[in-house]
Symmetry: C2
Subunit: 456 residues, 2 copies
């Protein structure tokens, strides 16, 4: 016998996980599409050269790459993708002339990273990305936040906060302090503020570069920490920030852009309570150049951001000389699901159909098949129990699976052209209902269960 | 610059391909679910041992396996799955106690085979599988055919034929001829009947085992070829077959099962014209033991089967001592799409939203965002053009993408609280419509376009 375990760091998704997952994904697809985003798919396997080109992934991600070879193939030539952004860049570079700009795409798929296995960390996980390529319009910036908002709302989450910044505010401040060359280490330190606190960030900013710090003098360190700590809140902080940070064209552009984004979001009818500015938000990745986003569920901030992204100057510079600015975000489906699960908010279920049609011993087996077909034709999902075993066992199966109702036709009922309708929740059974009104009877019974809070 | 090409044998799926593909997949998911099948997902990466266990895949498939390794991993330990059946067997062996039987699952996902690249053959392709595990009921056999029927119908295909056989008819005949030990080579030869004709099959059946044949004497060969050539058609052939093949308990069981399946399908309201019996149908794979299916689109038989499957005695014998019989089928999405494409039946489109809201130079950019949000709230997909470039160019974008209507608000319209509605199909424009009736106006315009055959 071969052990049926999955490889380390990987996992099976059983129906109880997949059913809410598929429902959320269907909502994401519908949301992305309603804004004019269109789906693309790229292979799970890419040429190694594409994935490891300069700047494609961080050193850490590149160390985690899964190499792929087949018999007759050249080792080191192919690998599994570690995100959907590098494949997007390659795709756009290759196809942009046929596609035209602006090009708005979404992609949902597995990505692979050979991380050290740990609780809640998997080597295969799903990303849900959407991007608008080929425009620098603030409308695309605002729309990205609007789509995050709409997608999470469709997923049944309403208590979240989208934190915004424009990277030019930070870049402008660093420029005016003469710190352009140290921006990488400064931004990395700032990104840890919520984890390690202001003193932790001070420590990272002031300690020498040789030991992984930014090597800043104390006064510069304080200006940066002040920006990150003080300027967090609603639109009102933008005026203060403008005064405090002084005249710098990048800072001004960044603040003006944030103002416009908030204005457009208000026009779109999105609640301002769900947006928050944080001028210290950097979002690690070096390639963000304008607006950046991250999204946390209120009270569940320890899970980190469930939807993040930002604007980049040039998506596909590795693959084409054509400059392609864009903005986009990625929703971390697995993290979101883990959070909803831990919060007890996932309606877990082992079935999606409300009705089980029993297979009564002695009844013509074509009868349940016919009744189920009638229910489906009326838009009601129905499962036929395949074996003519005891009705008690069939009802046990239905209760365990989460079916709401059972339709039962024994030989007597078959002869009299009637059926019994049993609620698998209340265990009440209506007997001898006329078969000609099957669909209506089932529909009203489901409606009643729904009103009682137990419906589908 | 890095060449943005995909690796050999792989491909990008652009929106024009993905839009109909996603529509078809959504229909499949809905169909599977309506019969009580529930989704599962297993990792793309499996342990090599799981994939290469005896009988897991054919020698050819095993030669095509993609090995996967990461830094620090052991070479030869992991590989990409080549189908969804072996992962299902592993999954069921591992989880059956929690799941209970009958267990009905569907799975949709990429599988990988390092085949020699050729037109229409890809190294990554999508399988859509559904199976009923843990029952030997004829209802599950019939339901498998019913689900293939319903899924293809949802995909907009109606002119297809599902060919059925029960492998016990063939096995019984071979038993009565004393040919059990040669069943593999006989069945492989029979499966080629439509490709190489009766004489080709005769040749394969009679030539010696050393040169790849079955080594049968001529009279036995003729009995087998007769079975395959003569017994093709509707239910009526079953009586003839019963007479001709004589008393053999396996043959009788097989024929009785086929009769029941046809009877149940008729009760389910499925047209008998779409089913055909072919007592010579073997479906290569050695593990089928009862009913087998294949499905061709009428007039497009050269594409081969787009949905195939059958019943097996024991799914997971590699992984568990527990005997798990089942029945299922796999729909070849890529083949089906290639066929529909070649038949000119794929409604290709570069967008799924009907309305483009223009971004008029000089109009407050919050206006189009607000109007689009209103349309979406009314259930009408709407895309905002992000840049305030010339209206001519925006309309060109909309026409090229396949938007049906454009909503246009210039500065004058903004001041007068009206909008212009332009058909991107007829190029007709209604001017000065009241903004308060935006949703209704757009809805009726779309309705008219639909009646004219150009709607969404």
């Amino acid at each position: 016998m071969i052990d049926p375990r999955v490889a380390s760091g990987l996992r099976d998704l059983p129906p109880s996980v997949m059913i809410p997952r598929e429902r959320i994904l269907a909502g994401f697809r519908e949301t992305f599409a309603s804004f004019g985003f269109v789906p693309i798919e790229t292979p799970h396997i890419e040429r190694m050269e594409v994935l490891t080109g300069k700047g494609a992934g961080s050193d850490e991600v590149l160390r985690q790459i899964f190499e792929v070879t087949n018999k007759g193939g050249t080792p080191g030539e192919l690998a599994l993708r570690f995100d959907l952004t590098v494949p997007l860049a390659r795709f756009v570079a290759k196809h942009i002339d046929e596609l035209g700009i602006p090009f708005k795409r979404y992609a949902i798929g597995s990505v692979f990273r050979g991380e050290r296995p740990a609780k809640g960390r998997f080597r295969e996980f799903t990303q849900c990305d959407f991007d608008t390529i080929g425009t620098e319009s603030v409308l695309a910036d605002a729309e990205t936040a609007q789509v995050i908002h709409a997608a999470l709302t469709t997923a049944g989450v309403s208590d979240f906060t989208i934190t915004l910044n424009d990277r030019r505010v930070l870049t402008g401040l660093l420029d005016s302090l003469g710190l352009e060359s140290r921006s990488g280490s400064v931004l990395r330190a700032l990104d840890k503020l919520d984890k390690i606190g202001a003193d932790g960030v001070r420590d990272e900013l002031t300690k020498a570069a040789e030991v992984g710090g930014a090597g800043l003098p104390v006064d510069q360190c304080e200006q940066i920490v002040e920006l990150a700590v003080r300027f967090r809140g609603g639109e009102e902080i933008l005026d203060d920030a403008m005064k405090a940070l002084g005249a710098n064209s990048l800072v001004e552009k960044g603040i003006a852009n944030l103002r416009m984004v908030l204005e457009i979001l208000a026009a779109a009818g999105v609640s301002p309570d769900q947006f928050r500015i944080n001028l210290g938000l950097a979002r690690g990745l070096d390639y963000y150049t304008g607006i950046v986003f991250e999204t946390t569920v209120n009270g569940w901030e320890k899970f980190g951001s469930v939807a993040s992204g930002g604007r980049y100057d040039n998506l596909a510079s590795l693959f084409t000389p054509r400059r392609l600015p864009g903005v986009g975000a990625s929703i971390g489906l697995d993290r979101l699901l883990a959070l909803l699960d831990e919060a007890g908010r996932l309606k877990s279920s082992a079935t999606t159909v409300p009705v089980l049609v029993a297979n009564f011993p002695g009844t013509d087996p074509a009868v349940p098949v016919k009744l189920a077909a009638r229910l489906r034709a009326a838009g009601i999902g129905a499962e036929v129990f395949p074996d003519a075993i005891s009705i008690g066992k069939q009802m046990g199966y239905g209760s365990k699976r989460g079916h709401k109702l059972a339709v039962i036709v024994g030989p007597d009922e078959q002869a009299n052209r009637v059926f019994n309708l049993r609620s698998l929740i209340t265990r009440q059974e209506d007997k001898g209902l006329d078969l000609s009104v099957l669909e209506d009877s089932v529909e009203s019974a489901l409606e009643i269960l729904k009103q009682e809070g137990a419906g589908p």
